[in-house]
Amino acid sequence: MSDPFLRMVDVRKRFPGVDALKSVTLEAYAGEAVALIGANGAGKSTLMNVLGGVIAPDGGYIEIDGKRAAFRTPAEASRDGVAFVHQELALMPTLNILDNMLITSFPRRKGLIDYRAGEELCRNALKQLGYDFPLRTRVRDLSPGDQQIVEIARTLLGKSRIVIFDEPTSSLTSREKERLFEIIRIMKSRGTAIIYITHLLDEVFTVCERAVIMRNGAKVAESRIADLTRGQIVEKMIGSQEAVAYFQHHERRPGEVLLTVEHLNREGFLDDVSFTLRSGEVVGLWGLLGSGRTELFRALMGLDPIHRGRIRLHKPGSEVVDLSPQRAHSVMGMLTEDRRTDGLLLPMSIRLNMSIANLKNLLYRGWPFVYRAREESVTREYVKKLNIKSTSIEQRVATLSGGNQQKVVVGRWLQTKPLIFLLDEPTRGLDVEAKAELHAIVANMADAGAAVVIVSSDLDEIMSLSDRYLVMVRGRIVKEYSALATKHELLATASGISAQAEGVG
């Protein structure tokens, strides 16, 4: 192979308290995709932010095509052909597709923006992805999937010779995923160097030629994909064997019915959804993005209006009651998809975060005042139970690692002793270690007799946990599978129908 197109040599970065990068060297070759694998906090993003000009390194240097390069701003980086597809979309909702794609690279004539030329560029870029949006549509009116396409198309503008994909598939439907892989192949054939960051290992095997594995800010392994097994990768990522257990599934015997949902309907989101939940089971709610999984959870929690249908709770004494939105919180807990925006009170302490849903039970003799002592003891109890690594229960959650943050949210709900637990992408963006811990917790809840519903775009994860599957398509539950369902069945049911449906939408 020719000499590397990109060389990042001896790159070092120190954040207060942490060595984010300890002398990392990374090489990328034109026309190949290198997978950058590592647990959260391993330093992948830091490294890429250095390359993308988002942060400046403390030491080391970057060579592109043999020439030294130092980027002070993302703009500079993109000028030198480094493009970044961010995990959480970097789009401006109130602006139209055109502006979003061109924002830093408007073609100009006499100081004014030349929109005619601009449209040309954008249309071509989108064509390469097989899309043709009306370019004046505001991005906020696009579906998340389409928004990601716009984000990717942006990198195809101009002459980006290195494209960084950071968890690009996290919000894509399987069709879009396939298309993305196709695009990446095209890019490679054009001699673009791809750096592909992901947690989903099978993607690594489909897309990449080489893998660079990082741990605690250092490169721990580098090799051709062909010479690697999934087990080896996981092992190198976490430097231990234990978390591989994450793939084993263990039998569970569900108890009596806890909840029945009858003909639940919310205009435009949920369409005649009916199902039952039994205590002590884990139900995998499988479906493509936008199929209404999150909406279903929100409806159950009483966060969104319900236009028709009823939710009935089965009390132990076999008596059945309608579950009012107000009461929903007393029997249900919900882990939101995005813990930073929907879950945590970032600047606040672990204590305040964990007690917030349970305050009503922490009052002093029924007075509307919080009984501080009890609050603290309860918090400590759960911090221990969940093994949340922190300096004290007064530590601000913003300073916790992703895994521990997620555990704080879990702890918040465990305090309320919920009968039903709704988990929306509970391990998104967590490292393998943290994933394993959360899976243990999930299993634990079910064994303790709670009914757990889990949504995840990681099929392996769902399959490793669920005793039963509900498959959702466009707001309906279209099929139910037993634990014995195969990957193929699930994928087919979820996307097969959506294939014709998407034409409509």
Binding site: P74, M92, L95, D99, R108, I113, R140, D141, E267, F269
Partner: protein
């Protein structure tokens, strides 16, 4: 999606609703007083609203970046105050004096920009502080006297080009220029990008700080221009110059469809319509000889309605995005 369909009609009404209100007001006033609906009066209304239009235009970009500037009134007074002192005491001729005024306006804007961008102080607080400070300095300088402006500048206030007052045309030019900058230049797009959230803009490589700083400078500049025009109209400068401009300007912008969320709004026709609405109400009430004391109430009412419409618009947007709350 069903969600979207349901709102398109509402959306239409929301975006054109206040135009209808405007027409309604005009009709009512015309019925009440024949002298109201005349070309002459129309010209005057344009004339009277010119300064406010310019002031508001200045603030527009600040609001579009999702920031806030309530110091423009004081900025206008301070810059104009310095200018008048130069003209009256240093006997400087109006033109250079005006240039200095504009320079000062821009400078004061830069002060705001500096505090916001470099010292990272919340814009509302920043401009609240400079609101006090600038006014204090201005009163010090003019010793808070009401000062007649040199007659030649006074003349300027009532020069007509064809049927139009000169300041109407100036306002027209400024607005046109702003519209062009907003829609057809990179800076204009940057403003909107920043309005969509600083972190995202930063990530895609928009020079957020520079853009923000510049918007404040422009706001200051336009404030001083507006100040000069007001001065020229009234024929004198008094400490009441610029009082309440900050709130009027913001109200006007929101009526004109600029959202305080940032990233939303247009220069044309938005600001023009906004400005006209307010001025027409004022003069309309003048004409129909309504009790003088009903002004503030009516103005308040209209503003409330307009702002309510604005927030509905955003509610719609949020619904379409399927984002709760």
């Amino acid at each position: 999606m069903a969600a979207k369909e349901r709102f398109t009609l509402g959306r239409f009404l929301l975006s054109y609703g206040f135009v209808l209100t405007l027409i309604a007001i005009v009709v009512l006033c015309s019925i009440a007083s024949p002298a109201f609906f005349t070309f002459k009066n129309a010209l005057f209304i344009l004339h009277a609203s010119a300064p406010t239009m310019i002031l508001a235009t200045g603030v527009a970009f600040v609001l579009m970046t999702g920031k806030m500037d309530i110091s423009i009134g004081s900025t206008a007074y301070l810059s104009a105050g310095v200018g008048i002192m130069l003209m009256v005491h240093a006997h400087m001729s109006p033109l250079p004096a005006c240039l200095i005024i504009f320079a000062i306006g821009a400078l004061l804007g830069a002060v705001n920009g500096f505090i916001v961008v470099v010292l990272r102080v919340n814009p509302l607080i920043t401009t609240l502080g400079t609101f006090f400070t600038f006014r204090g300095l201005a009163l010090q300088i003019t010793n808070s006297l009401t000062i007649s402006i040199p007659s030649d500048l006074g003349e300027f206030g009532s020069i007509r080009v064809g049927p139009f007052f000169l300041d109407t045309l100036i306002a027209g030019v400024v607005l046109a220029a702003y519209h062009l900058v907003h829609t057809r230049t990179v800076f204009g797009r940057y403003v909107m990008a920043v309005g969509n959230g600083v972190d995202v803009a930063q990530k895609v490589g928009v020079p957020v700080d520079r853009t923000t700083f510049l918007t404040f400078v422009l706001a200051g500049l336009m404030a001083s221009v507006g100040g000069v025009l007001t001065m020229a109209q009234v024929g004198s400068i008094s400490p009441s110059l610029g009082q309440g401009y900050e709130f009027t300007a913001i109200a006007l912008l929101v009526i004109g469809g600029v959202s305080l969320f940032g990233g939303e709004g247009t220069i044309l026709p938005g600001i023009v319509l906004g400005a006209l609405t307010l001025t027409i109400i004022q003069s309309g009430l003048n004409f129909v000889g309504a009790s003088p004391f009903v002004y503030p109430l009516v103005r308040g009412g209209i503003i409330f309605v307009a702002m309510y419409a604005d927030s509905l618009k955003n509610a719609v947007a949020r619904k379409v995005r399927l984002i709760p709350e």
